[in-house]
Amino acid sequence: MHQHRPRQVPTAARVSAVGLAVAVSLGLTACGPSIGGGEESSTDVLVAPTETSGEITIWSRSGDLYEVFEGVIDKFNEKYPDITVDHQAVDIGAKLQNTLITATDVPDGVFLDDQLVPGYADYLWDLSDVLAPYTVDIAQQKLDVNTVDGAIYGVPWDLNPGLLFYNATALEAAGIDAESIETYDDLLTAAEEYKAFRPDAGPIHLEQSAFLGQLQLEMYASQLGTSIADENGELRLDSPEYEQILGFLDSVQKGGLGTRAEYLGPTDIAALESGQQVFYPWSIWFDFAPQQLLTETQGDWRATSLPAWEAGGARSGAMGGASFILPKDGENADLAWLFYEFLAFDEEGYTAVYGPNDIYPDGLNTSIPSYGPAAQADKPLFGTVDALGGQDLWKTAVEAGEQIPGSVPTPSWWGGAVDYLGNNVQKMLDGTMTPDEVIDSSTTDIQTNLVDRQ
């Protein structure tokens, strides 16, 4: 009878196999990033193409905007018949970073949120030269957020002015004229009056999502011409401007004048529909809510400029916005520039996006162009908005947009700051922190965990 024993693999063979695997791995690892000073940077400046033929791969965010851009390609091809556009709907947040790091299948152009542009600057073309003919007409805030060390890394696309949305019907019933609100003090007074009229109300929206709360905080700061960090990336939270903003939010909360809810979550919608929440200081894209979500109060809502922090101050700040970036590893980035130039600066292009189209018969009204000739108050691209009682939102938004002060690029660690500033603002609204504590604690934590580790 045979007895099977496991065969003994000779030690030398085992060592050889492991050695081979390690040698191959180490060899391959050498293909990774080189270790050096870590201070490499290049300032490749994109040059407009001399030949206009080839194929470009364009990444757009999935959803309605993708469909709208898709509809413009035919018009682009009328002008550039030899450029084939491979337009792809992509989860950009999930794919872009890996694609740029690995330099594999890199698209020629990408739609990207403004706040993310500076973080990718090392991978992108400097667009200063090609944008030069247009910069004088582009909103300063959009140029600023795309500029790093004097180089412009994004084609500025839309402007997202902050507006004060209000329920006109509910406020009229309480005898309040929202159009007379000029400062945040006026807003507090109006909220108190509404609260007196309707005791169960929390008239002003207080954002409960840490991320969106921080975004809204930056909208308020933008109005005051400041932001979380200066152009050198130095923190500037510890300032009178942030004290003023946090003090306002704290007053709303302590005075029982706010509805604390996540943006358009079930609680938020219920409070908006019931008339408990009647003031919503938010970016223009809130207009999506009355148009599609607030079926009970559709038509009751209006929009006006944000109140100013001081009488005569700026009546709007930026909240959100996107631009187009052109990766250096894209094969035909110069041709992609022509596509974005058409979209952003050619009348036929921006009219096709913002004007009536297959997706939005009355035009796209969740933002406005950042290019001056496209954004003229008396030349609306999108129509009046029925859900806002037939209001000319275009005029309101363009006039507000003109008041947005200049800005600085968003630091690459902005998203990480939500763990500190965003959370601390929520703690303040919970009543467990004071505005001063929010500033002190956030400053220390952001400096230690984010700024110092850049």
Binding site: M1, H2, Q3, R5, A13, S16, A17, L20, A21, V22, V24, S25, L26, L28, T29, G32, P33, S34, I35, G36, G37, G38, E39, E40, S41, Q97, L100, I101, G119, D122, Y123, Q208, S209, A210, F211, G265, P266, T267, A270, S412, W413, G415, G416, D419, N423, Q426, K427, N449, R453
Partner: protein, 308 residues
């Protein structure tokens, strides 16, 4: 009788007297040739990423340009960071909320489903596995609505019996419970299937003998089923421990790691470094997480391994 394996004399398998040296050399090389594809694939897709990540964990690299060698800095930063320990703590609490409950539910449900007299057995088995195959994002949206503090049906039901609203998703006290309930709802069907497969491997004659000896059903469950399921339960515990510590999608889609980081699991915390292009810290974090999970798994293996 035990026979020693006999090695055939080399000459016996020589086809001829010619080329006596070449054939043994080729034979000796043959195994290496056969395993070479595996070694190459293993090196490329397993060892290489591991070595790459290990090297990365000692650098500061944002994905572009060259990396800066920072030595142990990423590790010391993490090991002295309250947020890192908080993420491990969050995962630990979730583990405590999930694993014991899942084991009990899994064993009880599997024993019931294993009963041949149970009517609609196939229906129940399918029903238990449906949550496991349902897309998480869809369920997460349902969870957000159902557990809404002010308008969710869960609080509505609690209000009916006089219990005030609970901040399921918006308070750090309850957010982990809500997340644990989602994880339990989604993955307990899988646990039941695993336990069921273990139950079906137990010989029926063991139960017959116990019945003849007068053992009650409960006694059989405790003294026969559970001990004989130890290997299965060990497998389940290790697998689910890995799943809980790597839990990512659930907190991201339901609470986005909040409120106040209370549902930032070890997996989410690790992802946060990667998504912010802090690749060196992310790599160091992944190695620390591997060590933590490995230690936990070894403890479970030691505690739960069968006595025999």
């Amino acid at each position: 009788m035990t026979a020693s394996p006999q090695l055939a004399p080399r000459a016996a398998w020589r086809p001829s007297g010619r080329g006596p040296r070449r054939l043994p050399t080729r034979r000796a090389l043959a195994p290496y040739v056969f395993i070479a594809p595996f070694i190459a694939i293993f090196a490329l897709f397993s060892v290489y990423p591991l070595v790459f990540a290990l090297r990365l964990s000692f650098t500061d690299w944002r994905g572009a340009g060259s990396a800066s060698w920072v030595g142990w800095d990423n590790y010391t930063y993490l090991l002295t960071s309250p947020a890192f320990w908080a993420s491990l703590g969050n995962s630990g609490i979730l583990w405590l909320l999930i694993l014991p409950a899942q084991l009990v539910i899994g064993v009880v449900a599997a024993v019931l489903l294993n009963n041949a007299k149970l009517r609609l057995r196939g229906f129940y088995r399918t029903a238990f596995i449906v949550p496991f195959v349902t897309p998480l994002v869809a369920i997460a949206q349902v969870w957000v609505v159902v557990f809404d503090q002010n308008f969710g049906p869960v609080n509505g039901l609690l209000n009916l019996v006089g219990i005030p609203d609970v901040g399921w998703l918006v308070t750090s006290e309850w957010s982990k419970v809500t997340l644990a309930l989602l994880f339990l709802w989604k993955t307990t069907g899988f646990a039941i299937i695993i336990v069921l497969s273990g139950l079906q491997a137990i010989d029926d004659t063991v139960y017959e003998a116990a019945s003849l000896d007068g053992a009650s059903r409960a006694r059989q469950l405790w003294s026969i089923t559970v001990p004989l399921l130890r290997r299965t339960l060990l497998f389940l515990v290790v697998l689910q421990t890995l799943a809980v510590f790597q839990m990512f999608a659930e907190p991201v889609v339901v609470t986005n790691g909040g409120p106040y980081g209370s549902t930032t699991t070890a997996g989410v915390y690790l992802y946060n470094h990667i998504s912010r292009a802090d690749l060196g810290t992310g790599a160091a974090n992944s190695f620390l997480l591997v060590i933590a999970v490995m230690v936990l798994s070894l403890v479970f293996v030691r505690v739960l391994r069968p006595k025999d």
